[in-house]
């Protein structure tokens, strides 16, 4: 036991005296949260729109005011001439035009039905999709307000609700993704490099010619990174709550426990890599190419897995981050409990156990 504690202490010395790695360790999650949160978001803010209002009545005015009040839109001008529409799009910075036909208010009051046309610049289809979604939302909510004031229903519209993310907030998707990515990167990269470093510097040779148990060496290596990863996790959650207004809807203890399970899986992977390669460079390369890229691709937070070919969907099943991503989304966003994530938890546990056993087995008690 004393040996183990000394070993862990030694690992902490290594971590804290290597300033560059330490900076990376704590800088990376912060930078990623900021990047994904503010720069790389698919949320659209202050999109410039033009209103073409042939009706110019109370209702259209109210709708225009509502559009203007939303953070997503910035009404550039109101025109009453459809020739202006094409011109506006060609000028380039107008993303959306909303056209109210003549007698909009009258139609709504008398026929209980009115039409509004939304024209989007679909050269960027994703943005167009998102913006039309925003606009329909605004109009629909106005219409609901209106309906509650009158006894007769104004119009029947199929209700589409964006579950869990009504404002199509980008953060909901990417925070769990970033958590998976950062933990994967920190744990796999750092641990894989740490054992290989001992091989490269020759200290492994000295350690091998000693009574120390190899299992002890491996576990002691992983402990500092386990601790640092938990701190990282806390930082990410804190940042997403304070900076991105992203609440943790579920049980935070459960979230941490599940995260530690994922961290252990990642650490085991790192140990497996470092037990299989001979140089720090190849350890880094394998961690980056072999872990980071699949994690980005197959976790589901960048590209929906449902849209992939079946073969890739099958491959995605062996990526631990995918299961962790599902767990975090369930707990953090949907606020679900353990009962709904036990399957994913079980899969992660089995993965961790299998990888750990393999990496223990792969630890060479000799130099070859």
């Amino acid at each position: 036991m004393k040996q183990f504690i000394t070993f862990v202490k030694k690992e902490f010395y290594h971590v804290f005296r290597d300033r560059k790695s330490l900076m990376m360790l704590f800088g990376m999650p912060i930078v990623q949260i900021l990047l994904f949160g503010f720069a790389l978001t698919n949320e659209i803010k202050n999109a410039k729109i033009v209103i073409c209002d042939y009706s110019n009545d109370v209702t259209t005015q109210q709708i225009i005011n509502k559009l203007e009040a939303s953070k997503s839109f910035e009404v550039q001008r109101v025109v009453s001439d459809h020739f202006q529409i094409e011109k506006s799009f060609k000028s380039g910075d107008i993303k959306l035009v909303i056209v109210f036909p003549e007698n909009f208010n009258r139609d709504l009051l008398h026929l209980n039905k009115a039409q509004v046309q939304i024209i989007a610049d679909a050269s960027d289809p994703n943005a167009a999709n998102t913006l039309t979604g925003y606009a329909t939302n605004v109009i629909r909510s106005y219409q609901q307000e209106l309906s509650s004031n009158y006894s007769a229903p104004m119009q029947i519209i199929p209700e589409v609700r964006m579950l869990y993310n009504p404002q199509l907030k980008g953060a909901t998707n990417f925070v769990p993704g970033v958590m998976a990515l950062v933990l994967m990167l920190v744990c796999v990269l750092m641990t894989s490099v740490s054992i290989v470093r001992e091989k490269e510097r020759g200290t492994m040779e000295v350690l091998l010619v000693s009574p120390i148990n190899p299992v002890l060496v491996i576990i002691a290596k992983a402990i500092p990174y386990l601790l640092l990863s938990v701190i990282n996790l806390a930082v990410i959650i804190l940042m997403s709550v304070t900076l991105l207004d992203m609440p943790v809807n579920g049980n935070i203890v459960l979230l941490f426990v599940e995260s530690i399970l994922f961290i252990i899986t990642a650490l085991a992977l790192g140990l497996l890599i470092s037990n299989s390669v001979e140089s720090q460079q190849s350890a880094m390369l394998i961690s980056m190419m072999g872990m980071l890229v699949p994690t980005m691709l197959f976790t589901g937070f960048m590209f929906p897995i449902e849209n992939m070919p079946v073969a890739l969907q099958l491959i995605s099943n062996i990526i631990p981050a995918k299961w962790y991503y599902i767990i975090v989304k369930s707990i953090m966003i949907k606020g679900l409990g353990f009962a709904s994530v036990w399957k994913e938890t079980l899969i992660l546990t089995v993965m961790a156990a299998v990888i750990l056993v393999i990496s223990f087995k792969k630890f060479k008690v000799r130099l070859e």
């Binding site: 040996q3 510097r201 040779e205 091998l208 010619v209 009574p211 000799r366 130099l367 070859e368």
Partner: protein, 304 residues
């Protein structure tokens, strides 16, 4: 019981392509200071790694302190001290942290075996908070020796401990080994420096994975088959050319200020040689008979 014993050890790399150790057998007595002398790539490190259980031999048997290097590797790892050729301590830990770490790894404390390392450690003490990576070459070796000794091993393996270390530190290092020997520790040391061979009790001369000779340094020198002469002239490179083209000169190697030569005594005498060299236009000639060094013996064994 012998402290270290090797029987017909063979070790190859690259699936048998490179033969690093070729049928090597020797033994080291308890408490002996034994030297493995040979150039780089002669197979010294491979032998050390087999004995310290880091490598498995292709064939042959070996034992250290009565334990088989394959079967009882765990026991051996408790009883030996090993200092690899490359500096292998934690560069980012201080002198004291390194020593403490290795003491704990071997389940002991600095205090418990302080007597053994005291002489060496007092020299390191002023730098005990310095990171190991920032020490001078000589200091690094002393620290590595301390770490290898901290658990009072029965057998100490030192793989080229003096390579890359300055002359003064090298001398000090050998003094330390002598002191350690008096404590009853068997020491197996390898070195490419021939002048260090005479500091060992017995040496094995090794070349291309095979042992050429094992004996005490004195006996090896005594066994040198020919009379050895040192020759000097004003133009040394021309002298060498002349000597090497002379068919009656058996061997000629350059050693600092002199060329060491052996000759066919039946046909050539020192006087004859002097005359023939003078005829070649060489001046300031000096020829004297000398006692061979280990290096001379090594060269002689290599060429035969």
């Amino acid at each position: 019981m012998k402290s270290v014993e090797l029987n017909n050890i063979v070790k190859t790399y690259n699936k048998g392509e490179i033969k690093a150790v070729n049928n090597v057998s020797f033994s080291v007595n308890k408490g002996e200071l034994f030297g493995l002398i040979g150039a780089d790539g002669a197979g010294k490190t491979s032998i050390f790694r087999i004995l310290t259980t880091l490598l498995l031999p292709d064939s042959g048997t070996a034992s250290v302190d009565g334990c088989d290097v394959i079967k009882d590797y765990r026991t051996i790892r408790k009883k030996v001290g090993y200092m690899p050729g490359k500096f292998s301590l934690y560069q980012d830990l201080s002198v004291e942290e390194n020593l403490n770490f290795f003491a704990t790894v071997f389940d002991t404390t600095i205090a418990e075996n302080y007597e053994l390392i005291k002489d060496i450690y007092v020299q390191l003490e002023p730098f005990k908070t310095r990171r190991a990576g920032k020490l001078s070459g000589g200091m690094k070796q002393k620290l590595a020796l301390c770490c290898a000794l901290i658990h009072r091993p029965n057998v100490l393996f030192l793989d080229e401990p003096t390579t890359g270390v300055d002359v003064v530190s090298r001398k000090e290092f050998w003094e330390m080994l002598k002191t350690l020997k008096q404590q009853g520790i068997t020491i197996l040391v390898s070195t490419p420096y021939m002048d260090e061979a005479t500091l060992c009790e017995r040496i094995a001369l090794i070349q291309s994975g095979s042992i050429m000779m094992i004996d005490t340094p004195g006996q090896i020198i005594k066994n040198y088959p020919d009379k050895l002469y040192a020759v000097k002239a004003d133009n040394m490179s021309r002298l060498q050319n002349v000597l090497r083209s002379n068919e009656q000169i058996k061997s000629c190697y350059s050693f600092g200020d002199f060329h060491h030569i052996t000759m066919d005594n039946v046909q050539l005498t020192v006087d004859n040689l002097l005359v023939s060299l003078q005829n070649e236009g060489l001046n300031d000639l000096e020829v004297k008979e000398i006692i061979p060094t280990i290096e001379d013996c090594f060269m002689n064994l290599m060429s035969s």
